[in-house]
């Protein structure tokens, strides 16, 4: 069982970085958070990047294989999709999904992007 204080510190660092306007914070989240071996850390990082609702942060969780909606963990992928569906302004996310469906080299990533785009169009 993970210590509550450690979990809270990780949550606060990830949320603080997602609120920080510097592009460097997105890089840190991408390098450290989405590459973590812990599912909870990847899930927290992916949701924080989606909440930021910027092109760079959304690209991390939509385009990259093994991250965000393409994560091997269903828990992380579904949490990221739920966060995308909860966005008030979905225009940036839909644009990235359309570009991914049209131009990405990996078929699995394209399929995932197509499915998520269909869900966001219906919501």
């Amino acid at each position: 069982m993970v210590d509550k204080k450690i979990r809270k510190n990780v949550e606060n660092i990830i949320e603080g970085l997602s609120m920080n306007p510097s592009p460097e914070s997105v890089v840190i989240l991408d390098e450290v958070g989405t590459n973590s071996a812990i599912d909870d850390v990847r899930e927290l990082t992916s949701c924080a990047l989606v909440k930021r609702n910027e092109h760079e942060s959304l690209s991390v969780v939509i385009v990259n294989k093994g991250k965000g909606i393409n994560d091997m963990s269903t828990f992380v992928a579904m949490s990221t999709i739920n966060e995308l569906l909860a966005l008030d302004d979905k225009s940036t996310a839909i644009k990235i999904l359309e570009d991914t469906v049209e131009m990405h080299s990996d078929e699995e990533v394209r399929d995932n992007a197509r499915s998520v785009k269909a869900l966001m169009s219906l919501s």
């Binding site: 993970v2 204080k5 979990r7 510190n9 606060n12 990830i14 970085l17 510097s22 460097e24 840190i28």
Partner: protein, 172 residues
């Protein structure tokens, strides 16, 4: 011939009746001299006469106190003072009522204020940053959110350290 002579003669001729003191003067006195009876027998339509006042009707003057004559008369300045006193006494009830109403209104206002304050306190959600101030060793996310880009390298190290601790706690 007098009328009472006839009456006496009729009465004396009736059988079975015994009459005492049948002298003419005694009978005539009993019949016609009513002053004696009026002194002893109540003759009044007052229904309470037999039990209470023997036919004497009470008047309002009966209960007049003899002390009344000793009371000072209200004249001049004392009359004004008395009028002021009476005015104050007559206003006393309304003033007490007004005071009670104001106390009740004040109580209601205080109650509403307390309820409003309580509702506001209940509705306010303490932000995590405020809560974290009271928890030792908890990193403040708002502090990180306001950091400059050159300071973020430290945050990266901090994140790595905490993730490593998390991994260690899972492995243990």
């Amino acid at each position: 011939m007098q009328p009472y002579d006839i009456l006496i003669s009729v009465n004396t001729n009736m059988k079975g009746y015994k009459m005492a003191n049948l002298s003419i003067s005694g009978i005539s006195q009993r019949i016609f001299n009513t002053t004696k009876h009026e002194n002893t027998v109540a003759r009044s339509t007052n229904p309470f006469a037999a039990s209470s006042f023997k036919g004497n009707v009470l008047t309002a003057d009966v209960f007049e106190s003899s002390v009344k004559n000793n009371q000072p008369a209200f004249t001049g300045k004392t009359k004004l003072m008395a009028a002021a006193l009476v005015g104050n006494i007559s206003n006393l009830g309304s003033r007490i009522n007004a005071g009670i109403e104001s106390v009740v209104a004040f109580g209601n206002r205080m109650k509403e204020s307390v309820v409003n304050i309580w509702n506001r306190i209940d509705s306010i959600k303490l932000e995590d940053s405020v809560k974290s101030l009271f928890e030792p060793g908890i990193i403040n996310k708002n502090t990180i959110a306001k950091m400059q880009p050159e300071q973020l390298s430290d945050v990266k190290m901090l994140l790595n350290d905490n993730i490593a601790k998390w991994s260690e706690s899972l492995a243990a």
